[in-house]
Symmetry: C2
Subunit: 121 residues, 2 copies
DNA sequence: CTGCATCCTTGCCGATACTG
DNA sequence: CAGTATCGGCAAGGATGCAG
């Protein structure tokens, strides 16, 4: 699949598209949390730690418009909004899983080596 | 593994680290090509198409310093440089594979749906 | 509680020119 | 053929304030 178009944008391979859809700093962490539980906006905000209000809203909107998550609004005062992962969103989980594994392995390997050259000091 | 440090930078999860190491626009496409073949600089440049000279060199340097690829220089005129994937680099391949699969599935699904609401016009 | 708009900073990436 | 350096655009990400 060498070069194709989607959503008015050109991609050279499926990986580029995937990174557009679930890449970035927070999309995977969000999906990861939604994968087996429903979360409210405020819960996500608190649990993701450093994320700003703006970023969270932005990322949730993109995930929603790409069909990876679903948003349910309760017409109450004060407002209550819940986020669910969709079937399509579930398809992204394995990719996140293998990325996590690689990141973990990389970290472990890189931290296991530092002490091999200390014979003379 | 909630929040850790690596290479003087803070990460909230392994995914962030993974994306730093093999994310970006070209690192995965490069690794993907090196996975079962040795490539020369010029070959990569030609095959990757739109990538600029600067970007290719930059990405290759980062992959090398992270230990994912190895660089072999032949002291000849004109210069000849070959790039190999390392064992550590091989560990990134499954992650790229699942991302490719997701990107592909996403594309197929999104392009299969557009015609479901045409019963009345 | 949740959402939207604005402004600003940062860093990725591209274009171009020069070297051995 | 391969590498290095500089300049600058542009989009992602962050801070803050106002609104329903």
């Amino acid at each position: 699949m060498p070069k194709f178009e989607f959503g008015g944008k050109e991609y050279n391979n499926p990986v580029e598209l995937a990174l557009d859809v679930i890449g970035g700093k927070y999309k995977m962490p969000i999906l990861w949390r939604l994968k087996d539980k429903v979360w409210r906006y405020g819960e996500l905000k608190k649990d993701l730690g450093k994320i700003t209000h703006k970023m969270l809203t932005e990322q949730l909107r993109e995930l929603e418009s790409d069909g990876l998550i679903h948003r349910k609004v309760y017409p109450e005062i004060p407002p209550k909004v819940e986020y669910f992962i969709t079937e399509l969103g579930q398809k992204a989980i394995p990719a996140i899983e293998t990325l996590r594994k690689f990141g973990h392995d990389f970290y472990v390997i890189k931290n296991a080596q530092p002490k091999i050259e200390n014979k003379d000091d």
